[in-house]
C-alpha cells in the first residue's frame, strides 16, 4: 500500500503522573539505589489469557528477550512477583480472579495492561467482557495494540521501569496510595 508518510512522529506522551513519587519525596542516595535495584529486577507475573499472551511469548523469546531487562524469571505465584502483566481479554468471570491475584501480590507491585482487551475491552464490547481491567485493579501502564508488537510491550515495560525508578520507598505507605486502594475496595 502506498502511504503518504510512513511514520507518525507526533506521538503523544505525557510524563509520569503526579503522585507516584509519594509525599515528601526526597531522593536520598539510598532510596535511589533501591529504586535502581527494583527497576532492574522486575519479575513479571504473566496473567496471560489469550492472544496477547502469545505475543508475550515472542517477547520472552530470543528475538526480543525480555531477559535483557532482568525479567526472565517469570513466576506464577503472586507472592514472588513485582509486575502483574495482564495480557488478554478479562471477562467478568475472570475479574474476581484477577483481583484476587493482584491483592495477594506482595508490595511493591505494579500492573501493566497489555493489549486493547486488558486496557479497555478492545473490540469485545460485550456483556461478558470487562471493559478494561482498571475497573477492578489500578493500572500503572497501558499498552495499546491488539496485540501490541513485542516492541510495544517492551516499550510499556520500560515505562514501568521508569515508574519504578521514580517511585520512592514511601509511596506504598502514603495516604494517597491507601486512597487509591480504597477506591478499588482493596483494604
Amino acid at each position: 500500500m502506498s502511504r503518504p508518510v510512513q511514520y507518525n512522529n507526533t506521538i503523544k506522551f505525557e510524563g509520569i503522573p503526579e503522585g507516584y513519587m509519594g509525599e515528601g519525596f526526597m531522593a536520598t542516595n539510598f532510596e535511589k539505589v533501591v529504586s535502581l535495584a527494583r527497576k532492574n529486577s522486575i519479575w513479571p507475573l504473566p496473567f496471560a489469557t489469550s492472544c496477547c499472551g502469545i505475543e508475550f511469548m515472542a517477547t520472552m523469546a530470543s528475538h526480543y528477550d525480555l531477559a535483557r531487562f532482568g525479567s526472565e524469571r517469570v513466576g506464577f505465584s503472586p507472592r514472588q512477583c513485582d509486575l502483574l502483566m495482564v495480557m488478554g481479554t478479562i471477562s467478568k468471570k475472570m475479574g474476581p480472579v484477577l483481583k484476587q491475584v493482584y491483592v495477594q501480590m506482595a508490595e511493591p507491585r505494579w500492573v501493566i495492561a497489555v493489549g486493547a482487551c486488558a486496557s479497555s475491552g478492545g473490540i469485545f464490547d460485550t456483556y461478558s467482557v470487562l471493559q478494561g481491567i482498571d475497573q477492578v485493579i489500578p493500572v500503572d501502564v497501558y499498552v495499546p495494540g491488539c496485540p501490541p508488537r513485542p516492541e510495544a510491550i517492551l516499550d510499556g515495560f520500560m515505562k514501568i521501569q521508569e515508574l519504578v525508578n521514580a517511585e520512592g520507598l514511601r509511596r506504598r505507605n502514603s495516604d494517597q496510595y491507601k486512597e487509591l486502594m480504597n477506591s478499588y475496595g482493596i483494604q
Partner: protein, 409 residues
C-alpha cells in the same frame, strides 16, 4: 469391656485432596479451571470449568457486516489466525457464490499451512516446556518469528492478521514475502533443519518418551464419540482430515499424507503434529512451486473479479463513480446477501473449524456459529487425565493444544 467402641461403617475413607488447577495456573496456558481430586499425586476425579474468557463472538457477529467479522475470527485460535480468516472467507464465498482463481487458492494454501506450522510448533514445544525442557521452545520460536514476518509482509500484522478478503487477498504478495518464504523453506538454514533438530531433542529422548507415552490416551471410538477432530483425533488412529475429505482451496492439487497414531496418547499427539509439520512444509513447497509457475499478468492475480464483494482499487475509488458506489455499498455492508444457510469447514490447526452461517439477506449474518474444535474435545479432558498423575495432567493439557480463545469463543 463395656466401652468397646464400634467403628462406624465406612469410616476408612480414601483421603483425597481437592486442588484447583487453574484459572491462573501456569499449566493452563490460558484460563481453564480444573478441580482435581488427588490421592497423593494421582488424579481420582477431575471437573473442568471453562468460560473464563468468554467474549460473545457469536453475538458480536450478529451486529457486524461480513468483512468486519474477519478480525473476530482472528481471535478464535490465535495461534493460527490465518486459517480462521481463510475459513471465514471461504464460508462467505460459498454463501455468495464467489469462485476464486487458482493462484489465490495456492497463496491461501501457503498461508494456511504456514499457520498450521506455527500452531503445531507452539503446541509441541510447549509440551517440551511443560515437561521441563525450555530450550527447544525458544529454538522453534525463532522460526515462528519468521512466519510472523511473512504474515506481516502480506497483511501488515503479526498475530491478528485479518488476512485476505472475500474473494482473495487485500494485496499481492511482495517479493520480500516470497524471499522470506524461501528462507523459511531452506533445507539447511530454514525451518526443516530446525525441525530436525527439535526432533533430535525430543522424540527419542527416553525421559521425554516416558513422560508422554501412555499419558492421556484415548481410543479412536472414544475420540470420535467425544467429537475429536484434527491432530488429536488422528493421534487416536482415525485419519479424518477435512483437507482430504472435502478439499477446499485446491487442496486436492497437492500430494500429502495424513499421519495417524495408534493409542492417542501424548506421544502420539506429539508425533502426529510433528509429522504434520513435515507434511505442511511439503505442501508449502508444492504450492510455492505452483505459484511461481504463474507468469506475467497471471502473476498479478490476487483476488477474484467480483466487484460486488471485493473492494475496488483505491485509485478507482477516487476517480470513478461506479467504483465509489461499490465501495460505499461494501463498506456499509449493503451487498446483496442471499438468504440461506451454509455450513463450511476447514481443517484448522486443532481440527474441523466449522462456520455455520445463517443469512436472512440483511446486512449482517442472522446467526453465525463457530464450531470450535477445542471446545468440543476439551470435554474429554477429565476422562483423559483420570488415573494419571498431576504431571500427566499438565502434559496432556498442553499436548491437546487447548486454545482458550477458541474454546470460550
Amino acid at each position: 469391656m463395656n466401652d468397646h467402641i464400634l467403628l462406624p461403617e465406612g469410616s476408612i475413607e480414601k483421603q483425597t485432596t481437592t486442588l484447583n488447577l487453574g484459572p491462573t495456573h501456569p499449566a493452563t496456558h490460558g484460563v481453564f479451571q480444573n478441580i482435581l481430586e488427588l490421592d497423593g499425586e494421582r488424579i481420582m476425579k477431575a471437573t473442568s470449568t471453562v468460560g473464563y474468557i468468554h467474549r460473545a463472538f457469536e453475538k458480536i457477529a450478529e451486529r457486524r457486516a461480513l468483512y468486519q467479522i474477519t478480525p473476530l475470527t482472528d481471535r478464535l485460535n490465535y495461534c493460527s489466525t490465518p486459517i480462521n480468516n481463510m475459513g471465514w472467507h471461504l464460508t462467505c464465498e460459498k454463501l455468495l457464490g464467489v469462485a476464486t482463481p487458482k493462484r489465490v487458492d495456492y497463496l491461501r494454501v501457503i498461508i494456511m499451512e504456514l499457520a498450521r506450522i506455527s500452531d503445531h510448533l507452539i503446541c509441541n514445544s510447549i509440551v517440551g516446556v511443560d515437561s521441563g525442557a525450555y530450550s527447544g521452545f525458544l529454538y522453534v520460536m525463532q522460526f515462528r518469528e519468521l512466519i510472523y514476518e511473512i504474515y506481516e509482509e502480506v497483511c501488515g500484522s503479526r498475530l491478528t492478521t485479518n488476512i485476505g478478503r472475500i474473494g482473495g487477498f487485500e494485496r499481492n504478495f511482495t517479493n520480500a514475502a516470497f524471499e522470506k518464504l524461501e528462507k523459511f523453506l531452506d533445507d539447511k538454514t530454514g525451518y526443516p533443519a530446525q525441525l530436525k533438530e527439535f526432533e533430535n531433542l525430543f522424540t527419542r529422548n527416553r525421559i521425554f518418551m516416558e513422560r508422554t507415552i501412555g499419558c492421556g490416551p484415548i481410543s479412536g471410538e472414544r475420540a470420535m464419540n467425544y467429537g475429536f477432530t484434527g491432530p488429536n483425533l488422528r493421534a487416536a488412529g482415525i485419519d479424518y482430515d477435512v483437507r482430504v475429505h472435502s478439499p477446499y482451496s485446491s487442496y486436492d492439487d497437492f500430494e500429502f499424507t495424513v499421519p495417524v497414531g495408534t493409542t492417542g496418547d501424548c506421544y502420539d499427539r506429539f508425533l502426529v503434529r510433528n509429522e504434520e509439520m513435515w507434511q505442511s512444509l511439503d505442501i508449502i513447497k508444492q504450492a510455492y512451486q505452483k505459484v511461481q509457475e504463474f507468469k506475467g499478468a497471471e502473476a498479478e492475480v490476487f483476488h477474484a473479479d467480483v466487484p460486488a464483494f471485493y473492494l475496488p482499487e483505491k485509485k478507482d475509488v477516487y476517480t470513478k463513480m461506479e467504483a465509489l458506489i461499490y465501495h460505499f455499498k461494501i463498506i456499509m455492508g449493503e451487498t446483496e446477501m442471499p438468504a440461506g444457510e451454509v455450513y463450511n469447514a476447514v481443517e484448522g490447526a486443532n481440527g474441523e473449524l466449522g462456520y455455520y452461517l445463517i443469512s436472512d439477506g440483511g446486512r449482517t449474518p442472522y446467526r453465525l456459529h463457530f464450531r470450535r474444535p477445542c471446545f468440543i474435545y476439551y470435554q474429554a479432558y477429565p476422562e483423559l487425565i483420570k488415573g494419571g498423575m498431576l504431571s500427566d495432567a499438565v502434559i496432556t493439557m498442553s499436548s491437546l493444544n487447548l486454545i482458550a480463545g477458541e474454546l470460550d469463543a
